[in-house]
Structure formats: C-alpha cells, structure tokens
Symmetry: C2
Subunit: 167 residues, 2 copies
C-alpha cells in the first residue's frame, strides 16, 4: 500500500469537532476533543466514536458505560484546543467550561450548542483507538442552527490549514 | 428524549459522500452511495461504515469480506444520486461507471478521485444499519487534492439544501 495515498484518501473524510465527556463512579471527569464520529443507525439511533485506547476518556467510558458528545460551535476553536490535553474537573467545570449532569449522568457542557448522551452498547478494542458504539438516549440543542445543522458545527478545517487527525 | 433535538444534534455531524462497492464470489457487484463513514484507528488503519442491513451491499460485503470506499469529487453529484438505488453490473461498469478490480478484489470506480480498499474485520449487526469495520489494505489517489483533502470530497450539503441522511 502507498502510504501517501492512504493518508490523502483517509484525510478526504470530513469531520466535525466534539468534546467527548464521561464521569466515573468516583467522580473523575474526562473531557476530550474528538473528531472520529459517525452515526451508524436510525433505529436504534447509534453513533460510533474512535477513542484513543490509552486515554483517560477511554478508561472512564469503559467503566461508566455512558458518554456525551458535545458538539462545538464555529466560535469554539479555543475549547477544541483546550480539550486536546487531559484535564481534571474543578467542581462542576473542566478546562474552564461549566457542565451539568445529563439524564444518564454524563457531563453536558453548558456552552455547547448541542449534545447527544449515549449508553455504551459495545466497545470494540482493536488498534490504537477503540470503536465505542453508543445508543443515543438523550439529546439537546441549546443554539438552534440558522442554516444547515452540519454547517453550524466547528469543522476540522476550521482549526487550521494544516490541522488533521486522520490518515 | 426530544426527537427534534436528537434529529438536529445528529444532523450537525458533517459527512462526505462515498460509493461503497463489493463483489460477490459469483460476480455480483454492489455499488451504494453511503455517508456514515469515519476512520477509527491509525494502527491498524481502520474505518467504520454504517451499511443498511437489508441492502444488497450488506449481503455482498458479508459474503466477500472485502469492500472499497470510493470517494466522490465535487463534480460527482450525479453519481451520488445514481447509486442511491440498487443497480446491476454491466460487464465492468455499473450505473454507467467503469470499474477495475482492486488488489483485494473490490470494484474500484475508475472516475473516483480516491479510494480505500478494506478487509472486513467485523460486522456488528445492531439496528437497521450494521457497523462494518474495515482495515484499510490498499488506497489510491487518482486526482490529487489542490487544497485540503477534506475540501475535495463531495459533501452531504452539496447534494441540496434539504438533503440529509442522519438524525
């Protein structure tokens, strides 16, 4: 396989930017910027997230079996970079972002324009990232998109001309 | 769960447009427009595709254990609509699009700007679409993107103001 071709072809996949959140039984909170996300079914509504196998978010989600995907808005570039690194909760905020408990117990970032909260259906541990399959059990929209919904989310390309996570 | 919120939040996930192809042992070819695609690992390079459980592509991939994702270019809107319906091969073309055999045996659309060819690692059959996990074994780029790779692919939003598959 031509590794340049593999990189270019895989980087053609467009991505939005999300903060993946979860809370452990003992109150540790993970909040991690992710982009490897897709819906995979309507009924039940399923999403798949690629989660770094050695990350704090992976460990906490594996225990809690619950996570939220917090969609970032076009003006949330700073938050995307904040949650590239691993942070610890400070009361009911993390990385300066306040959160509340969702109906399943996952942290919902108050400033995110929308979220889905998911029950883990399965975690397929293959490779350097695991495939986390979640069933959407709750959702909220704090800022209704004015145009197309998929134009309202912060996109990978918005983070910088040379910024990619994939390939 | 508020079903409108679920729909809007899930429709914030941006998607590219791909033609998913596979060939059965007895020479039947499936070519289906899909958008539920994400990479999920670097090593090994994995992708996930949500594939309609009752589709011809699903049946053929389940048998062949091999598929290709053919990325569509910005000028391939007509091809996206062509492969929304199920078609049959006509020699070495389908829906008017010529194809060649990839190194694993999957049909590679000659006019697609790029492709990845994958070995099926697992098929998680949950819901109205299955989660097909593929390891990228080959890739090709026929048309090198001039700017960002993720700007070169046909996007869901390019198909029309009201066109969504998700939510």
């Amino acid at each position: 396989m031509d590794s340049d071709a593999k990189k270019t072809a895989l980087r053609m996949i467009p991505y939005g930017i999300y903060v993946l959140t979860s809370e452990s039984r003992d109150g540790r909170v993970a909040a991690a910027t992710v982009n490897w996300v897709t819906q995979t079914a309507f009924a039940p509504p399923l999403v798949v997230v690629g989660v770094k196998a050695d990350s704090g978010a992976h460990a906490i989600i594996k225990e809690s079996r619950v996570f939220a995907l917090n969609m970032l808005g076009k003006d949330h570039k700073a938050q995307a970079f904040t949650f590239f690194k691993s942070l610890e909760r400070d009361g009911n905020s993390i990385g300066g972002e306040p959160f509340r408990r969702g109906s399943l117990g996952a942290p919902i970032l108050t400033n995110a324009p929308a979220f889905v909260e998911c029950q883990v259906v399965d975690i397929i541990e293959k490779g350097d990232h695991s495939i986390v399959i979640g069933e959407v059990k709750d959702a909220g929209v704090a800022v209704q998109p004015t145009g197309r919904a998929d134009d309202a989310i912060l996109a990978m390309r918005d983070l910088g001309e040379k910024v990619f996570y994939g390939g």
